[in-house]
């Protein structure tokens, strides 16, 4: 990591990285709209992904926490099973769904909504959202589910005994108590989405390059290690900063080791 930070201040020449100290790499990043845009886009995509994942996961976690006995175990198993498969496989799963010959286009044509396959389903930001939400769903689902499932049902009963409507019980008791899970899930999804590489590369287009993809191409295509390193440092600092902030607010154990208790 020290080497990475050092390299980010070095000069890239035609023969490789030379240890000549310079701020040029950072000047390139912060002086150019391309890179600032990439970082802003990364943050925006990660933020929207987090919100979408939260909206999708919360009702499911809530529904599941209301179940009991073997039904709960079975549904839980069904929810987890897809996430035990390989990450790369999970990312490219949406290719045959959204592509030109994909299921969605096939159904659209078959039922006469469009006359021929449409191209706007994939290689854009929308497809990246679908892929990221699909890939990171469990990170959001699990902490929320655990914070809902561990609640003492006596609290809810007490509230309704005191005359609260079901909606009030949810708003005033259940939801506030599930907030630690919500925060933990949001932090994880946001962090992972910030560093996303595979999904935007497969499902996104040129206009949806995220920080991870730009870094990757600096190292593997342009061979500009200095710029790549300084981009990595920028990404690393922002991600660790976000993480430290929420770890400080919630405690490291709350965020991370809730599973290990």
């Amino acid at each position: 990591m020290v080497i990475l930070t050092a390299i980010s201040f070095w000069t890239t020449t035609a023969y490789g990285v030379k240890p000549i100290w310079t701020l040029d790499n950072y000047r390139t990043i912060f002086g150019s709209y391309v890179y600032i845009d990439t970082f802003l886009r990364t943050l925006r995509i990660a933020g929207i992904t987090t919100v979408l994942t939260l909206l999708a996961a919360y009702p499911m976690a809530f529904a599941l926490s209301r179940l009991a006995g073997s039904a709960k175990t079975i549904v839980l198993l069904f929810v987890f099973l897809p996430f035990w498969t390989s990450y790369v496989v999970r990312s490219f799963l949406w290719l045959p769904m959204l592509g030109r010959n994909g299921l969605v286009n096939f159904l659209l044509v078959k039922f006469g909504f469009v006359s021929r396959p449409v191209d706007w389903l994939i290689y854009n930001e929308g497809a990246v959202y679908v892929g990221l939400v699909y890939a990171y769903m469990l990170f959001m689902f699990l902490p929320i589910y655990q914070s809902l499932d561990q609640q003492d049902s006596k609290l809810q009963e007490a509230a309704s005994d005191l005359g609260a409507t079901p909606a009030q019980v949810f708003r005033r008791v259940i939801f506030p108590l599930s907030l630690p899970g919500v925060f933990s899930g949001c932090t994880m999804v946001f962090l992972f989405a910030c560093g996303a590489f595979v999904t935007p590369q497969i499902l996104g287009g040129a206009s949806t390059m995220m920080a991870g993809n730009v870094i990757g191409s600096q190292f593997q295509i342009s061979n500009n290690w200095g710029l790549g390193a300084s981009l990595s440092v920028t990404l690393m600092v922002s991600v660790i900063g976000c993480f430290a902030l929420s770890a400080w607010r919630l405690g490291l154990l709350q965020l991370f080791a809730r599973d290990t208790r």
């Binding site: 897809p82 996430f83 962090l191 560093g195 993480f243 770890a247």
Partner: protein
């Protein structure tokens, strides 16, 4: 809950079904396409064939990648679990030190995969190690599975009743004997589960590997090249094969702990923080 209005329960149930569909339809589609007798990956489904599976299994590069991944998984799981066990044994009696170590354990997990890949690439560049499966990719995989193995072993060892080991020592057993005859048998299920979990982590790892593997290929790297460079018609079959392999190992690891909903949640969480 009985007091909830019926229509909310129905809405939640309907949402649950939609949610599970969202998770499963893409996987089912992949399975269908893997049997589709068409040179183009996609719909419509024509006739069913197992040709793509035969083609995939006959592909030398794919098989090499499979073995590479298997060996790498076994090696990094063994080394990573052993190192984590040593660390936990050392730290379990000093909670303050363990608490101080936690941020450093968690750091590699939080670090974006791409950054770790880049850091390692640069690091190996400076040490002059040649990029390949062994040693560079192995080193990366060991450092990747180590924090997870630590987080998975630590609570089991801390939760261990100390008086059992003390009794053995009072009866005159040497520390090594205590470990071999008392401590290890007690934690063996946890160690096995951790090792299997570490294997699936290594077996699945892509982004970090991608940067340090050089010209060799692991299974995920091979899959990536298939997806991004040549959309081969047997791609879905490869995807299904990988899916089944990882599912199988995960299920094995899961089977070592008994079935109840809380355990599933805990297991899936440690498993999932990973990818």
């Amino acid at each position: 809950m009985t007091m909830r209005p019926v229509h909310i329960r129905w809405a939640l149930a309907a949402y649950g079904v939609a949610f599970v569909c969202f998770l499963y339809v893409p996987m089912i589609v992949l399975c269908l396409l893997s049997f589709n007798d068409s040179p183009v990956v996609g719909f419509p489904i024509r006739t069913l064939t197992t040709a793509w599976y035969r083609q995939a299994l006959a592909d030398g590069v794919l098989m090499d990648a499979l073995w590479n991944s298997a060996w790498l998984g076994i090696a990094s799981s063994a080394i990573g679990t052993a190192l984590a066990l040593t660390a936990v044994l050392g730290l379990r009696r000093v909670p303050r030190l363990a608490a101080a170590a936690l941020p450093f354990v968690v750091l590699p997990i939080v670090m974006p995969a791409i950054v770790t890949g880049v850091v390692m690439l640069i690091f190996f560049g400076f040490t002059g190690l040649r990029l390949g499966l062994f040693p560079t990719t192995l080193i990366v995989h060991v450092t990747w599975v180590l924090p997870f193995a630590y987080l998975s072993l630590y609570p089991r060892l801390v939760g261990l009743d100390r008086s059992i080991e003390e009794a053995a020592m009072d009866l005159g057993a040497m520390p090594l004997t205590v470990f071999r005859r008392v401590t290890f048998p007690l934690i063996r299920p946890a160690v096995i589960a951790t090792a299997l979990f570490a294997f699936t982590l290594s077996f699945d790892e892509f982004v970090r590997t991608f940067f340090v593997v050089g010209t060799q290929q692991t299974l995920p790297v091979h899959l990536w090249i298939l997806v991004t460079e040549e959309v081969a018609p047997f791609l879905p079959a490869v995807g299904v094969i990988i899916m089944l392999l990882t599912l199988g190992t995960a299920a094995l690891g899961f089977a070592t702990s008994s079935i109840n909903s809380r355990r599933i949640a805990r297991f899936a969480m440690t498993r999932e923080i990973a990818s």
